[in-house]
Symmetry: C2
Subunit: 471 residues, 2 copies
């Protein structure tokens, strides 16, 4: 028997049948990444129901020197939860650990196991008048463990930060089988290096996150959603700063170029432009308040009127009701889908300093289109976080294998521009496998050395999600 | 020549005379810790003026295997910046690196070198209508590097968090002489483990922080300071939650027991009780707003009136002007001084979950006073952070050497109670040298193992502040 078979056999004896899945048809949906780029293989999917079972699994993995690939909802964008194709690793599905262990409005804290789906947590918080503010497209299937392990972002980062800001502590099984218990929710604790912070964004390479203490905020009492037309990305940033200097209610601010809006209107049924005139750029603004007495619509309306008067924006409209607010968000949320309908698209999740972003979008788009004639480049998304999704479309005359033939070269070109601008080639999606080559190419050697040293220090046997994150 | 002499000689050749101080009288003020507990020795104090000079020093330290003890304002509470008494280490004073490299209201970011004094940063931010919200008693001498290396807290943590929440990135020289540059201020960056987060609170054991990118917030337009009398610590917590459910303006909430107030009134000249009646506990509340149009006094007044009506508080008064506001704060800030005037005091900076704190204070005080007859125990401070300063006073009949004879045993007793309550024996002061024994005694072995592994991975030669933080 080889090591994997031995692991499966031992796990079967110790964990009971529900925790050890070897049926190929049950495993198959989970060995390909969300975007369908990488196809892995695993002879078993271990599905522990408790932290104790995770400890058992990690010990067995160490004993048999078999790599574990932790996985939540498998909605990641960089194949960080996809096993290697050679079958040398087993999947560690955290989805059965799906209890909300506690939730308290008084303490503004929820303790959720790794497999709790984000939408489930949203609902539980909402039921007690509270809110877990981080949200993103895959909220119906992504899990707390995965969100934490990837330091996920989303559309509410502007006000509430990424997962790193919202995690009050976590429980994890370290590669030596010990349990790190950081769930006490202490607001102040200076006992040595923060293992919590080290595990956030570590993509499962330093241990398995089993539960997370999460900060809650008061629920939204009222929200206002607006759409503004501006003449440049720079004007959009001016609008954001104009608003932020006058109110702290703005929690979403998304940039949409005219080109993207037009693709949405063309390909997504039931969409229509919020404004009558033509604008080169658009901003989607969401303001919320936890105070029922605040007329958030009127506040945002007045601020946008003042911005119009000062020439910052060309026009704006406030959603008259929830349905219209949702329709505005749909215009933003379906950009990627509309691009795919139009043709081949190469996506880059990148960040630069907020102040540099307007120029970066314009300059980088021009340079890409010049270097790769026929392509169309544009950036949309979280302007207030200095994070946009910089997409390069193939254009009408591209070959069917454009993505495979030119993709890597274009990505290198884009990444070089990002690096030259002092930015990051991975803003919110992580490194996983898909960005590992570019990270290795561009990271300073001393940084790579430090990451490897930390990885080796905590996981000397290399059993925790090898081949991900660390070049 | 021994290794230290060789290091001093090499540093003298490469760095110029101002960066190498060997005059004993200049070094002497810096080799004893702030509280005067530990007396160290150093044959040289290296004082680099730039990151390049720090790189040079770290390389020399590695070459000669001489330990460096980084130091900012030397205001720490746990002797984390005090060299060992055997003269085997040299001091690395960061105070000459005192430039604010950049500060921008638009970006809400300041980049300050490690030696910038906190009050200097406060002033610089204030001049442009912004604010760096973290503040504490030693603001006139503590430095940004020290605050970051100790993950400092203070009185504004309730709303703005500790340094960990306020650091947007940092620059540090790692033990191998490489420079980690995290100053870009990217709001989203998922390129591998967060070295920034690892260095925050690492007390200089993993590298030398040379500069820090710090988040700014809009300046205070108006503030309201109130003093409330309550019948129990539990009521004080109820008051905090009552306020927090209705406003997000509360940024300071300090608990003061009657016993502490009476000591202040007795020993600190010019103090008087804010309220006429007797109350067993008191809460000092600070609310602020960045919006000049908000009548923060009226808001807080109305909320306190409602709390009074609901029986949460017994009485309350709002400071009529800035002078009175300062006088309220003085009552809080001079508690330690008043205690010292009264007699010997043993201080513990501890935290438990916020919800557990009222009961903890009462129970732990009772248990300490029962186990050590004659002592008087009480807790005061940051109730909203679950962090109090739990002080045990010797009492009138204690021997002059009470502190030396009984201190360690009482501290062990207190720390055991904290651990049993799921709390931390170091909330905001760190471990340094003074808490290292207790940390070693109480930390789970697996945690100690993980901390040591990380330390050894990044500092295999053990040149960065050995004997601190890591048991």
């Amino acid at each position: 028997m080889d090591a994997v078979a031995e692991l499966i056999s031992s796990a079967g004896q110790r964990l009971g049948p529900r925790a050890v899945i070897t049926d190929r048809s049950e495993i198959e949906p989970w060995v390909t990444d969300w975007r369908g780029r990488l196809h892995g293989a695993a002879r078993a999917m271990l599905a522990p129901a408790s932290t104790d079972e995770v400890v058992e699994i990690v010990r067995l993995a160490a004993e048999h020197r078999v790599a574990l690939v932790p996985q939540g909802g498998n909605t990641g964008m960089v194949a960080g939860a996809t096993p290697p194709p050679d079958g040398s690793a087993v999947l560690l599905s955290m989805r059965r650990m799906n209890r909300i262990r506690s939730i308290s409005a008084d303490n503004r804290l929820a303790i959720a196991e790794a497999g709790v789906v984000l939408a489930t947590l949203h609902d539980a918080a909402h039921e007690m008048g509270m809110r877990f503010p981080l949200t993103l497209g895959s909220r119906g299937s992504c899990t707390i463990g995965g969100l934490t392990s990837t330091n996920a972002g989303g559309t509410q980062v502007l006000k509430f930060g990424t997962m790193r800001s919202l995690v009050a502590g976590l429980e994890a099984v370290l590669p030596d089988g010990s349990v790190h218990d950081g769930l006490s929710g202490l607001k102040k604790d200076n006992r040595g290096y923060s293992l919590d912070q080290l595990l956030i964004g570590a993509e499962g390479t330093l241990g398995v996150i089993t539960a997370v203490a999460l900060r809650l905020v008061p629920d939204i009492a009222r929200r206002a959603v607006a759409w503004a037309g501006v003449e440049s990305a720079q004007r959009a940033l001016e609008l954001l700063r104009f608003l932020q200097a006058r109110t702290d209610t703005v929690e979403g601010f998304e940039l949409v170029p005219q080109d993207s809006l037009q693709l949405v209107l063309k390909h997504i049924p039931g969409t229509r432009a919020p404004l009558a005139g033509e604008h080169r750029w658009h901003a989607l603004i969401e303001a919320t308040t936890a105070s029922p007495g605040t007329d958030i619509d009127a506040e945002l309306q007045a601020l946008l009127a003042a911005a119009l008067q000062q020439g910052i924006i060309g026009d704006a409209v406030i959603a008259a009701n929830e349905a219209q607010a949702e329709s505005f968000w749909k215009l933003r949320d379906t950009i990627s889908e509309a691009e795919r309908a139009e043709g081949q698209t190469l996506a880059h999740d990148i960040s630069v300093a907020v102040a540099d972003m307007p120029d970066f979008i314009v300059d980088a788009s021009e340079q890409v289109e010049r270097a790769f004639p026929g392509t169309i480049a544009s950036g949309f998304g979280h302007l207030g976080d200095g994070n946009i999704h910089f997409h390069v479309r193939a254009g009408a005359h591209a070959a069917p294998d454009w993505y495979e033939r030119e993709g890597a070269e274009i990505t290198r070109f884009v990444d070089d521009l990002v690096l030259a601008a002092g930015g990051s080639i991975s803003a919110e999606h992580g490194i996983g496998q898909l960005k590992l080559g570019e990270f290795a190419r561009l990271a300073p050697p001393a940084r790579v050395h430090a990451l490897r040293a930390i990885k080796h220090a905590l996981d000397p046997l290399g059993i925790m999600n090898p081949g991900k994150l660390v070049p």
